[in-house]
């Protein structure tokens, strides 16, 4: 029954590359937040350097997917599998960029800045990491129920983000001398929010794979 075994092997390998890239973005966000909370400049620099490796891995996924399209001329679900491989790897690369930007914010804040990093950022991060986990499972099992759950979690992150930015704005009014530092913190909140948005894009890709139509989970 099963023909095209080689193609199947290649598709499985490609899926493996994407899952491993997703886990790396997870680690990057975790470490970037660690650097932010602990004022760990060395760790922040490591994350920035690591992002280049992530970019290379994205490129490799793209090259492999394009070659498979050229060689195997897939149709229907197989074609969508390769199209979403291109899309998802691009989302993961952008997620890596967001983690890198948090690391940069940590560097801007420097050591001994005397500022307490808002605990809500940690909550946002926890939810964002949960979203990566969910998007990986949804991708691995091509499960649209899991993919749809991402939209709910994204709303949660968006609300936390709105709340934290409002609080920070208030703080700039009472402590205008801290404005530079607070800005970096607000930027970091924005990076986490963007990071989470990309996981919902992954969810949309999975819906496209299974249903063959484009749906917006970011609304």
């Amino acid at each position: 029954m099963v023909a095209r075994e080689q193609f199947q092997v290649e598709l499985t390998a490609l899926r493996g590359q994407i899952i491993s890239l997703a886990h790396e973005t997870e680690k990057m966000l975790e470490k970037a937040m660690e650097a932010l909370y602990n004022q760990d400049i060395e760790l922040a620099n490591e994350i920035i350097a690591y992002d280049e490796q992530l970019d290379e891995k994205e490129l490799k996924i793209n090259e492999d997917a394009i070659l498979m399209i050229a060689r195997q001329q897939p149709v229907a679900t197989d074609l969508r599998r390769l199209i979403i491989a291109l899309r998802i790897s691009s989302d993961l690369e952008r997620m890596g960029d967001n983690a890198k930007n948090i690391a940069k914010a940590a560097i801007h804040l420097g050591e001994n800045h005397g500022l307490t990093i808002h605990p809500a950022l940690n909550d946002m991060k926890q939810t964002a990491l949960k979203m990566v986990d969910l998007s990986v499972k949804a991708f691995e099992y091509e499960d649209i129920t899991l993919a749809r759950k991402l939209a709910e979690l994204d709303d949660l992150v968006d609300n936390m983000y709105g709340e934290v930015v409002r609080e920070m704005l208030e703080e700039t009014a009472t402590n205008p001398q801290k404005i530079q530092h607070i800005m970096q913190m607000a930027f970091s909140a924005r990076y986490i929010e963007r990071f989470a948005d990309h996981t919902t894009n992954i969810g949309e890709s999975i819906l496209y794979l299974v249903k063959g139509e484009t749906l917006d989970l970011n609304k």
């Binding site: 029954m1 149709v75 229907a76």
Partner: protein, 258 residues
């Protein structure tokens, strides 16, 4: 299951058609509408009944003594399975092209003039015109106009197939049936035939059996997928090749069997 995206009036309307070779049922409860001036592709693995189906459309299949048919096959509103039909006239209206170009061992001119002659065209001027028009339609005129009296067997495979298409359309049919018309051709000749099919559909209704799924996807408006004598899915080609509704269609077009 058999849904057809037919805004246009159907030329063929097949209803609950069954076909047996002796005791062996080769077509099972086939339902399909073939719209006018569109290309309908028939795909499926070997032995699925697709060639049997296309040969039923011009009743060529009836030449096989053991064949039994049931159901309805309407051609331009007439049930040609039930009603008595003039086969010569029917085949004037429904031309057919086969896997390998099969020109007669005659001159290029006589091959194309064959159909019009047997249908009574005698005047040289009229025949000349019919030959020229048909050869121009298949984009063969410029290549052969200086050697119309040479043997058709001296043409290349791709040219022979185009000549056969010219011969088929010289009688001005309304339908052209094609049974794997490019399977014996090289890629360039194949693309020329495909281009030709896209041009011809403005004037003719085309039904093409093909093993080449990319070809079906490229040139057809509607695709019917046959398996074990049944139509598993028939729909507009864009849908069938992007979001097929049946798992077996998906597996077949993705190359997982067949």
């Amino acid at each position: 299951m058999n849904k057809t995206a037919t805004a246009k009036k159907p030329v063929f309307h097949v209803q609950d058609m069954n076909l047996w070779y002796g005791n062996n049922q080769a077509l099972k409860n086939v339902n399909l509408e073939i719209p006018k001036n569109e290309v309908t592709a028939v795909i499926g693995p070997s032995g699925c009944g697709k060639s049997t189906f296309i040969k039923t459309l011009n009743l060529m299949i009836k030449r096989i003594p053991s064949v039994k048919l049931s159901g309805e096959l309407h051609f331009n509103g007439q049930n040609i399975l039930r009603d008595k039909v003039d086969l010569v006239n029917l085949r004037k209206q429904i031309g057919m092209i086969f896997q390998k170009g099969n020109p007669f061992p005659q001159s290029i001119y006589d091959n194309v003039a064959y159909g019009p002659r047997i249908h009574g065209m005698k005047k040289k001027k009229q025949l000349d015109e019919a030959v020229e028009t048909s050869l121009k339609q298949v984009a063969l005129w410029d290549e052969v106009k200086d050697r119309l009296n040479s043997s058709a067997l001296g043409l290349s495979g791709g040219q022979q197939q185009r000549l056969c298409i010219a011969r088929a359309i010289a009688t001005k049919p309304s339908v052209v049936l094609m049974d794997e018309p490019t399977s014996a051709l090289d890629p360039v000749s194949t693309l020329r035939i495909e281009q030709l099919i896209s041009e011809l559909k403005n004037q003719y209704t085309i039904v093409i059996v093909t093993h080449n799924m990319q070809q079906a996807a490229r040139i057809s408006d509607q695709t019917a997928f046959f398996l074990h004598g049944e139509i598993i899915e028939a729909s507009d080609t864009d849908s069938l090749f992007s979001v097929p509704s049946d798992r077996r269609t998906e597996d077949y077009i993705s190359g997982r069997f067949g």
